[in-house]
Symmetry: C2
Subunit: 530 residues, 2 copies
């Protein structure tokens, strides 16, 4: 079972669970959603009985399967859902397929389980490449299977804007597509595919994604990454930029100097977009506002922006950026949501106390954020950036660098033992990032995401990982096969998964990581050299 529960003991006895069996008690809809092929019917007494125990945490559960049926005790709807996911993993792998089978054997077991961390996330960059709604829904299904509960959607970057705006329609009309895409590494002279790329989610799509996720105990965390990474926005609305110049939706990779202005019209624009996105999602407790890799040159060069900063009593562009992000976080707070930022925004200082920090540049800066009283979600490049190759081998598909292995992820500890108890208490959980510069389609997404995300799920649920991950994963891959997930085989890519060949760098990502992490002590240093 992945993630492995706190306690799992085999009991004698087993029973045959029929398709069309009855689920009784609390949260029948959650149990039915987790076992769609079983076509369970809600009823007064049934083969599966669920009772709520308010003494348990919302996500905690106990599961007993014996010869008489299945009993579930759950702290809340999520606990019932996860109990049913665990029950599903006790059935044969083919239960993840559409079949005409009439019943499934359930072995006798007793499970007691609760997650170590409340934030168990996957990030998907839908800006660099767009993934149709159905692929997002499928990712939510796969997250639910792994008891992952936060989907961080990176909705905008220099290379595209991915959501309808009724207030600012040029965002989806203009910013949502580019005429071509660079297909090689960003340090080489760009080579292009000459194939237009684009797409966006309508607000109705986003509402559907939100509802679909909510039903599966997944919270969508939308990211509107500002003030940098703004080329796509500034292709549509240059008036919100620091220079007023029109940019183009970027067709190549790397960090662009395109930056929004911090002036009131930009704040008005962004809060309007927040309202649209949050409204479509049906409310969301978190909105990510980026704050990463910002190049402030254009702010420092603009007399209007400089004097605006001075009028606020701020010394320089860096303080103005901190003010700008705090202004947006305040606007989110008025709307009932907490801001989430990348770690640069913490280093720049001035965050609201309730802002959640994602330390991508390493756990060192994460620890400092935690020590300063911020909630932290562990997101370090090493080992949680899944756009890195899984092996330093020439038959791996092209990646930004190498290597982050399955074992690296499985060995990760979101709350390191060397941190103080207070610091560790600030760790909300862990999240894997999938940046998609080199993930042109959903088949490649599968390859990059799985099975590393299985290991992420294991450590985010248990905190420390459990014994026997390798053996359990071998069985688990049968479930992914049944679901048609084109994961990376443990012994390397299938011939058609090689795509453009990777050139092994000879540099370990852990060494690169140490260099990136050193930069986190310098608030002016925003240009990582990966």
């Amino acid at each position: 079972m992945i993630p492995f529960p706190e306690v799992l003991s085999r009991l004698s006895g087993s029973f045959e669970l029929s398709v069309g069996a009855t689920v009784s008690g609390d949260f029948p809809d959650a149990v039915r959603l987790a076992l769609p092929g079983l076509d369970l019917r809600p009823g007064d007494s049934g083969e599966i009985d669920v009772r709520r125990d308010p003494a348990l945490g919302e996500e905690a559960y106990r599961l007993t399967a014996g010869s008489r049926g299945v009993e579930i005790v759950a702290g809340g709807r999520a606990g019932a859902f996860y109990a049913a996911q665990s029950l599903h993993q006790l059935l044969p792998g083919d239960s993840y397929r559409f079949t005409e089978r009439a019943s499934w054997p359930v072995p006798g077991v007793r499970v007691e389980d609760a997650p170590r961390f409340p934030w168990r996330g996957l990030h998907l960059d839908v800006a660099r490449h767009f993934f149709p709604k159905r692929e997002v829904l499928r990712l939510i299904d796969l997250m639910a299977l792994h008891k992952l509960n936060r989907l961080h959607l990176h909705l905008v970057d220099d290379q595209g804007w991915r959501v309808e705006s009724r207030a600012y329609p040029l965002l989806h009309e203009v910013s949502s597509h580019r005429p071509r895409t660079a297909v090689n590494h960003h340090r080489e002279p760009a080579a292009y595919d000459e194939v237009p790329h684009g797409g966006y989610y309508t607000l109705d799509d986003l509402a559907e994604i939100g509802a679909y996720a909510r039903a599966r105990c997944v919270t969508v965390v939308p990211e509107i990454d500002v003030p940098g990474h703004a080329s796509a926005i500034l292709a549509a609305y240059p008036e919100f930029g620091a220079t007023g110049e029109r940019h183009e939706v970027l067709d190549r990779w790397g960090i662009s100097p395109a930056i929004l202005s911090p002036l009131p019209p930009t704040v008005e624009f962004l809060t309007t977009v927040f309202d649209e996105v949050m409204g479509a999602l049906g409310g969301t407790p978190y909105v990510h506002i980026g704050g990463d890799e910002v190049v402030l040159d254009h702010w420092a060069a603009s007399s209007e922006i400089v004097s605006y900063g001075e009028s606020l009593g701020l010394a320089g562009a860096n303080e103005l950026q901190a003010w700008f992000l705090r202004r947006l976080a305040d606007a989110l707070a008025e709307r009932g949501a907490r801001a989430v930022v990348w770690d640069e925004a913490f280093v720049s200082g001035g965050l609201r106390a309730d802002t959640v920090v994602m330390p991508w540049r390493g756990m060192g800066v994460g620890r400092r954020a935690a020590a300063a009283g911020h909630d932290v979600v562990a997101t370090p490049v090493f080992p949680l950036y899944f756009d890195y190759a899984e092996a330093s081998a020439a038959d791996e598909p092209m990646a930004i660098g190498d290597a982050i292995t399955l074992a690296d992820v499985a060995a990760f500890r979101p709350a390191p033992p060397e941190w103080s108890d207070e610091e560790r208490a600030r760790v909300l959980g862990a999240q894997a990032q999938l940046w998609t510069e080199r993930v042109p389609d959903a088949r490649t997404l599968d390859y990059r995401m799985w099975p590393r995300a299985c290991a992420l799920a294991e450590v985010a649920w248990s905190g420390t990982g459990r014994d026997g991950f390798g053996e359990r994963l071998a069985e688990h891959l049968g479930r992914l096969d049944a679901l048609g997930v084109e994961y990376r085989p443990l012994d390397g890519p299938r011939p058609w998964q090689r795509r453009r060949p990777h050139r092994p760098s000879g540099t370990r990502v852990a060494d690169v990581m140490a260099r990136i992490e050193a930069m986190t002590h310098d608030p002016e240093s925003t240009r990582p050299s990966v």
Copy 2:
């Protein structure tokens, strides 16, 4: 409503159909599958009541919706399923999304409906480009929505073999992938993408596809295209080829001379593969064996093959080919399935009387096949080859030729009025073909298939099309939007759908079609010049 029913009258009154409502009577599972978002419960009496009337055809139904609920009378399970699909189309388009809505309004209507043709098909070439299982399942969902009921899967061609074989594992290990793919027109010097491509369905996947389709009243028609188009097979098992030479899985388009031998080991190989595929699908009434675009030069040049033909009393390669296809059709008949062939096999002569003919080279040869007593499925290039562009415009994505418009499809008549009654009685129906040389991914598949397949569904269901197709389609596109189908907008591609630009040919496909059709009078002429 698309396809439009025989009779549709609006009645006064309406009612609100609640999520979780009860469906009673016959075929509750079929009704529930057609309305997945309504989460219907089977029960003794309910808001939706279904009764079987053996006097109706299996696919025929009557539907009455009024203030008291919905009454369905169906000839069989398919009729109940289609009644529920019609009911679904009476609900707002958002009912095709996952929502948290608790009920939907149903207007008062009376519908009487039955299909004109029993074969309403889509063909998908998964050999030139592979589409993951989930995309095949999604296509089946879309077919069901349109009351289409035959999915013809072109499982093998020169460019790939797409199904696991436990008896001949090199088929999926070797024949299932190629190192690169030509990205331009087959008459130009090949330009390649240098990206490996491949994939295959496991037999478990095929079983799942078969079961999923069956539940939705869709019959899968697998195609093992022989004896030509054999490069991929001969990359793995050259011993079954006419020359014994090893070929490579083709990375470019056009017709290859690679051909299987007609000798007994090849027949044994193919019948073993038939057993595997048919076994996985859980039995299938039809297996397509190709017979198209065969280049017989290697047979005529092989003394072993020539003398084998002579030993059977056959005069020349052409008669041997007819014998070979009949031998395979006999093997299928022993297994309870009818063979389906492309029209070249009819022109060559010697088919079993029960073999179904697909006249891709035009309705002229289709009429001759019907006159000869063969059942015929109308599949002419014009207007049913959806790999042709939908407009002769430079902003269309690259296509094999131009143009086959939505209006061309809507105007098609599967059983032309000028045919005799006997000839028309032989027409099983119509099927659109999607060859995928220039359909590299599922997003492009959507663009090519829809909304032309809506028009195909309309004429295959009604025989003649119905008034108001354009207005009904405008509403219907809202359903496709809700489902996330990236169809071609009526006014042309979205910016990111342009892909590699199409160069309008200046030649109308109807004129090309006349040239192709002329070739059907010559059994030796198998090299169309499209």
